[in-house]
Amino acid sequence: MDFILTAVEQGLIYGILALGVYITYKILDFPDLTVDGSFPLGAAVTASLITKGMNPYLTIPISFLAGAAAGICTGLIHVKCKVRDLLSGIIMMTALYTVNLEIAGTNNVPLFSRQTMFKNDMLTQLFGDTVPDYVKIVLILAVVLISKILLDLYLKTKSGYLLRAVGDNDNLVTSLAKDKGNVKILGLAIANGLVALSGCVFCQEQRVFDISTGTGSMVIGLASVIIGMALFKKLPKVKATTAVFVGSILYKACVALAIKFFNPQAMKLITAVLFLAILIVSMDRKKKVKHYA
């Protein structure tokens, strides 16, 4: 039971990251590697602010803004300097490593004695000294639902239409007399904002900031998006923004299950191999045959 609960919690937190990856990978059709840097960026900003005594709930929107700034940088590199999409992400990811270290101060910031969104004076007042376990999952769910609903609403606005159009057929965006570059930058900002927000919640849940948390987060996000989309391909009624959370939880459960049989050091290897397996399983069979024929 504990095992499932952890998978659900982690899955939901990483689901927010998957929402961001969904925007870049599925909507914008932009392989954005900034994610590996913006996830720990959210965590670093959070750890640093909490250490300084800021209200842990305030760190959530601030992390979003920090991530959005990183996304804007990637977008500017890609659009204004005309660097290829993949390379722009790699440049930002590498640069962010130093930025994150600078923000956090060191490569490991423990927050055990600090106020976090899951353990603080307000919650103790409400529930007494031992805050019940369900509070944590309720809080995570609240953040998840707010991000998901806001994103759903955004995608239905005029600006959201334009964002969807730019990945679908950027030529139409130009025809509508809009600069497609700016739309891409906006999309990258929102996506990386969500990724950093996920990093913020993750850091508070783990009660520690570690510089290495970012490595492989892109793979986790991509795997979640691909599992989610593949699972609900036949059910178009289920929104993609819901599907990615299911994908994320499933993926985390698979990794947690695999970890039980292997050395925890093999974590990243398992993450990668599982991702490969998912890619192969979810691949369009017909397309594959055609390709090799």
Binding site: K158, R164, S175, L176, K178
Partner: protein
């Protein structure tokens, strides 16, 4: 009024493959004129449209709209007053969005794309009206993704979408070339109707000589970056398909193919 003045355009400049397409090319299109442009492949028809829209840069000369120099204006800014339909039906619509969403976006061209609701419910009846004049039954499929429509249906939608908002110029780049003859005929009729109704200044590139003769009040034939035939008004009405064909053959013989 659209003016192209002393246009120069080279491809692959500075290499052995350097090719001069336009050298001192001049063209003036009066307001309200419907120009049909024909010519063999590589004669500069599409390049001319791309230069006007700003999709490619020119190496010399000026482009003026109503006397205003737009030579250095970015493509997306120019397209505020230009509607363009491409040869490829996939270029003018978003396949993963519904018909309704596509129409709503086109309706908002030139305005701010902010955080208000993407589809204005009050406009739906207007969209239906626009689509029903196509006689393709699209008005009953508003929530269908455009990607599942046929090429002809998508091209018809592209045409409607690009002429929905007030524009000064309509640019048609072989917009019937990818369609079957019957659908092409229908799209052409619709084009004529829309241009007449909205009194749009139109430039239509086509490989169909009959359309070029039947539609429009001016005919241009391009060859090696020059207009070898340029007739308008009464003179244009007298032009026959055979005459153009003859000229075409003449050019082909001159060029050795």
């Amino acid at each position: 009024m659209l003016e192209l003045k002393h246009i120069e355009k080279y491809y692959n400049p500075g290499t052995v493959n350097e090719m001069c397409l336009f050298q001192d090319f001049n063209l003036t299109i009066e307001k309200g004129q419907f120009v049909s442009v024909i010519g063999s492949n590589g004669s500069g028809k599409t390049s001319m449209l791309n230069l006007i829209c700003g999709s490619i840069d020119l190496d010399g000369g000026k482009i003026l709209i109503d006397g205003e120099d737009i030579t250095r204006e970015k493509e997306y800014k120019r397209l505020k007053r230009i509607g363009r339909v491409y040869q490829n039906p996939a270029m003018g619509t978003c396949p993963n969005m519904t018909i309704l969403e596509n129409m709503a976006m086109a309706d908002n061209k030139g305005k701010f794309f902010g955080l208000s609701r993407g589809t204005n419910k009050e406009r739906i009846s207007y969209y239906k009206e626009c689509l029903s004049q196509l006689n393709l039954g699209l008005e009953d499929k508003l929530n269908v993704k455009v990607g599942s429509l046929s090429g002809g249906q998508r091209q018809a939608m592209s045409l409607v979408m690009s002429t929905m908002t007030p524009i000064d110029f309509l640019i048609l780049d072989e917009h019937t070339a990818a369609l079957d003859p019957k659908t092409a005929e229908r799209i052409m009729e619709l084009t004529g109707k829309i241009v007449e109704e909205k009194k749009l200044t139109t430039i239509m590139v086509t490989h169909n000589l009959r359309y070029a003769v039947e539609y429009g009040d001016r005919l241009l034939m391009m060859h090696e970056g020059k207009a070898v035939i340029d007739v308008a008004g009464e003179e244009k009405k007298k032009v026959q398909v055979d005459q153009i064909l003859e000229r075409f053959n003449q050019i082909s013989i001159e060029c050795g193919n």
